[in-house]
């Protein structure tokens, strides 16, 4: 049975590091009207921060920063679906990218744990990427307090 969408928001912003905190505020703002534990909220914000930061650091490397789309949807079955999309270079090897401690970044002291954190804090993480077209990361979580 197809679940009804209770609420949704579609945003986009420049892939610049200033907007990493913006993405967390957008997420927190969206969830404000819905029952969520403080811990859950912090975990979800962290997962979003990781996905958006990946796009900021990698998607448009070596060229002018493009856009990141951040879409949030809450379904009637309490499932939260967050989609982070960029239109940048794409991930060459998604499986490799998702390995703990793996990073292709040379200069920014990246820990390589972004996907591991997303996977720990969300119920499901799906990544699709196309060379030179972009990357889409879909994060899903069933909110514990929503009826």
């Amino acid at each position: 049975m197809k679940q009804r969408v209770k609420n949704q928001i579609n945003t986009s912003f420049a892939a610049t590091s200033e907007n990493e905190s913006l993405s967390r505020v957008i997420t927190a703002g969206f969830l404000m009207a819905h029952p969520v534990t403080a811990e859950e909220l912090a975990d979800i914000k962290t997962a979003v921060s990781e996905a958006v930061t990946n796009a900021v650091v990698h998607a448009y490397r070596g060229r002018e920063a493009g856009r990141i789309k951040l879409d949030l949807k809450l379904y009637s079955d309490a499932r939260l679906k967050i989609t982070v999309t960029d239109y940048g270079c794409g991930i060459e090897d998604v499986e490799r990218a998702r390995e703990p401690f793996f990073t292709t970044d040379r200069e920014h002291e990246r820990g390589g744990m972004g996907f591991s954190i997303m996977e720990t804090f969300m119920d499901r993480v799906r990544v699709t990427s196309t060379d030179a077209r972009g990357t889409r990361v879909v994060l899903e979580k069933r909110l514990s307090l929503c009826r």
């Binding site: 990493e20 905190s21 930061t53 390589g112």
Partner: protein
Amino acid sequence: MAIRWEETEGELRFFITGEIDHHNSIFLRREMEETIRKSRAPSIVLDLSGTEFCDSSALGLILGRARQAQALSRTLIVQNPSARARKILDLCGAERFLKYS
């Protein structure tokens, strides 16, 4: 996000409050790198009791400073991490690389 530091004999202590994300890490790295370079203190302490939010960027920042400390033959420990900072650092397996207290 705010950073301040105190230097007493033998110890350089950083206090980082607020949020540590990739954006803030850029500024924090610059400040900490330079301060560590100018200091003679053999012991460097990162006090994260006031860190309200961090993501895995904090790991990169801290490991970078740990590498810098090691190259200068100094020690670096993370002290009093907030519950949030502790959770993220533990998830990143930081205890393999860092000393906590």
